[in-house]
Symmetry: C2
Subunit: 509 residues, 2 copies
Amino acid sequence: MSSNGSNGSSATYEKLTKKIRNYQTLGACGALLSWDEQTLMPSKGAEFRSEQLSMIAGMVHESSTSAEIGDMLSELRSSELTQKSDSPEAVNIREVSREYNKSKKLSREFVEEMTLVTSQGQHAWKEAREKKDFSIFLPYLEKVIALKIKQAETYGYEKDRYDALIDDYEPGATFESIGKVFADFRDELAPFFKAIQDSGNQPKSKIIERDFPVDAQEKFASECAKAIGFDFSAGRLDVTTHPFCSGIGPGDTRITTRYNPNHFPDAFFGTLHEAGHGIYEQGLNTKYFGLPIGQAVSLGIHESQSRMWENLVGRSKPFWKRFYGDAQKAFPGALKDVALDDFYWAVNDVRSSFIRVEADEVTYNLHIILRFEMERAMINEEISAADVPAVWNEKFTSFFGITPPDDSMGCMQDVHWSAGLMGYFPTYALGNLYAAQFFAKAMEDLPNMYANFEKGEFGELKSWLNENIHSHGQRYPAEKLVEVVTGQKLSHKAEMKYLRDKYGPLYGI
Amino acid sequence: MSSNGSNGSSATYEKLTKKIRNYQTLGACGALLSWDEQTLMPSKGAEFRSEQLSMIAGMVHESSTSAEIGDMLSELRSSELTQKSDSPEAVNIREVSREYNKSKKLSREFVEEMTLVTSQGQHAWKEAREKKDFSIFLPYLEKVIALKIKQAETYGYEKDRYDALIDDYEPGATFESIGKVFADFRDELAPFFKAIQDSGNQPKSKIIERDFPVDAQEKFASECAKAIGFDFSAGRLDVTTHPFCSGIGPGDTRITTRYNPNHFPDAFFGTLHEAGHGIYEQGLNTKYFGLPIGQAVSLGIHESQSRMWENLVGRSKPFWKRFYGDAQKAFPGALKDVALDDFYWAVNDVRSSFIRVEADEVTYNLHIILRFEMERAMINEEISAADVPAVWNEKFTSFFGITPPDDSMGCMQDVHWSAGLMGYFPTYALGNLYAAQFFAKAMEDLPNMYANFEKGEFGELKSWLNENIHSHGQRYPAEKLVEVVTGQKLSHKAEMKYLRDKYGPLYGI
């Protein structure tokens, strides 16, 4: 019986993983179609492309929520394959079951309504943002909030309704668990930022607003992305309006950026950021493509990889000790008379600003905490859609000391709410916290890391990440992974230490 | 009963077309994946891409040969929807049935074996071609011939085994029907070519081997492709090793080319050629996407469109009267001291050459007739794979008066046989014949066509093609279409007249 049972579960497991690989391979076709839509597709192809993407999404949904998969999962959950809880088999069964159970809860009608409302919502948001007129967006935001509340109630939750939504992006995280960390973080971050402002010190920020020809930017950013370890024989870099990274499939991870000829940081750090996401995707175990053990853990952990390469590496002094000479050669017009220290400070300029995606390392987290608090209030019906502009402006003024001149520079700057991505924002700040914790641990394990950066060698950090994070896939939930890797629970301490160590000396505080 | 029957067939027809549109939409995902594979895909993505393409091909095959579709077709073939034989409904039922019946004959095992052998065959061919060693390719060519014979026998045929294969590319055409036309064509073409050679006249052909910077080529070729009517808001031009046109779907037709910085014609006429294919794809009725009435008729008719824009338009004097000034501006280093007449003759240089894809308008057809005769002999077991090099060289010498120095310049120059594409070659020469017939008729209908070319206006020819050819989709088989449009059966006469009118004066014969 035990032997039969064992053979039976092995056969079922094999059948299940084959089915999953099949629908994930189909999903990967959708990923390429979507990448193409955002980079190269001719405009008249848009309507048919939507039809293709919707067809593939429907096929993947149908296949991944089939009763057949449900039956196989039921059988496997009670099999001996789940005994060793961090074995690939146990992890795959656990995580596929988790996804399956969530997906099954949403009716096809609900999914279709959400797709429709968020599609309309994004169009309305775009128009409202262009016209700086919140009233155009308001009815859609109301609908989105109502649907997200419905979704949270359908999923269910233990303590806070917002938890059900966070779980879509950061499985296992709750408002309480991360809210506490964010509150502690903010308590230290706010006075630190104030001290920076009060210091009166400022870099020569106009340096990075000189003329940076796009061709030279593309070449230089590609070279640096390659240097830190993004494998261009298994990936590409292209141009889009909204930069992203897409892991199309084994051996094919694509990143995008956008160039501003009069602002160096946008494309450069954007490329390193997406390359960081790409290095994670390229570091996943291709043998397990499509299965949880071969997939990224969470958006927070994903963001930890992008923010680490963008900021902890790419905005570090050791990095620029190696690459500043190359930058001067690439942009002689802009940089030949600029000293390394001035350039380094200019790309680490801390100041109040309205736009999240342009914010520095210090204030970025405050932008996120603001959104996190507002989302939770919206989902718990403590504020209504109509309250959003006033609440935003009030909070923003208290956080940053400046008030957005209009809603397009304020509560309408991000696409997320129009697209129904509530619960997504906190993963950005989580990414910063995880990144600082991982980086501190890597520094302990690799004492020559900074010295090697100065030589343009990033391989040991990449290998460390491959081994400690990427290769695990979804073996551990994010909160467990950070403990396994660093020996510490999620906390703001490593991030605050990093910020103090870096910006204290820069601003003389 | 009649009313019920009618409603019943309408419902069945609607269900059928929906099914077809579904699997064609999936097939279009494969088209994008394949385009991407040949243009942009990073090298390490190759293995997974094959898996994706093979999965999609399998899904489309399964869906398009399902018993459900067969049952619907049976019902519809005897319904009143087929009464008006050139109605969209009747055409779709007729052509989908034809495809269905052919596809059903091939077993899955056969399709898999063919895929495997031709995949291996192409690798072996590539190696053999590089090493100029036919023996490496021989065993694969033997296998391919055996499989193609098996395929022809499985399909069945009335007179000639080769007919069964031609039918895959040029439905309805037979060895007898096109063989007779080709024989008549060759009887006039060979002495005409000899007269050109004997004239002793030659253009200054080195003109077009000067320095033509790739960026300028790309810009100039794109402008001309746009000028003749290729819609870049519904298409793209990219770079590949082997140029092609892919109709991805409604609003999205992509063409490719390759640049030789020291040979102007390759990319330029290659781009116009692919743009010609593209204009056909863009001219199909998108309302009927995926259905025969919205699809190209045959490879021969497709090639008539590409060859027309490439040669009858793009290599014409009126075309260059308009664009030569632009060319001189685009390539001042190469062309500023070159007279229009010298340039015009240089791009219309007729001479014996070994490589088909580089051949001029006159000799190109001889290259095709040679392959057509050899394919027929192979499939009828009149010559074996081992005989191919000797037979090729003997025929080639008799056609062109020169003998290939090695098999890579001879029987191994084209990928087709390694890929199992036997029966494909004749469509290239058919394309030339159809093009000349259509063009002569267009000239009758549009007496100012050439005068308009001189003004850079190509819209009336494009509209004429849209109306007379593209909009019909597969309403008529190719041989019927040419009669409907021109009032004449397929013949070599228009092509010979065109060649004589153009090259007689050039070569003073």
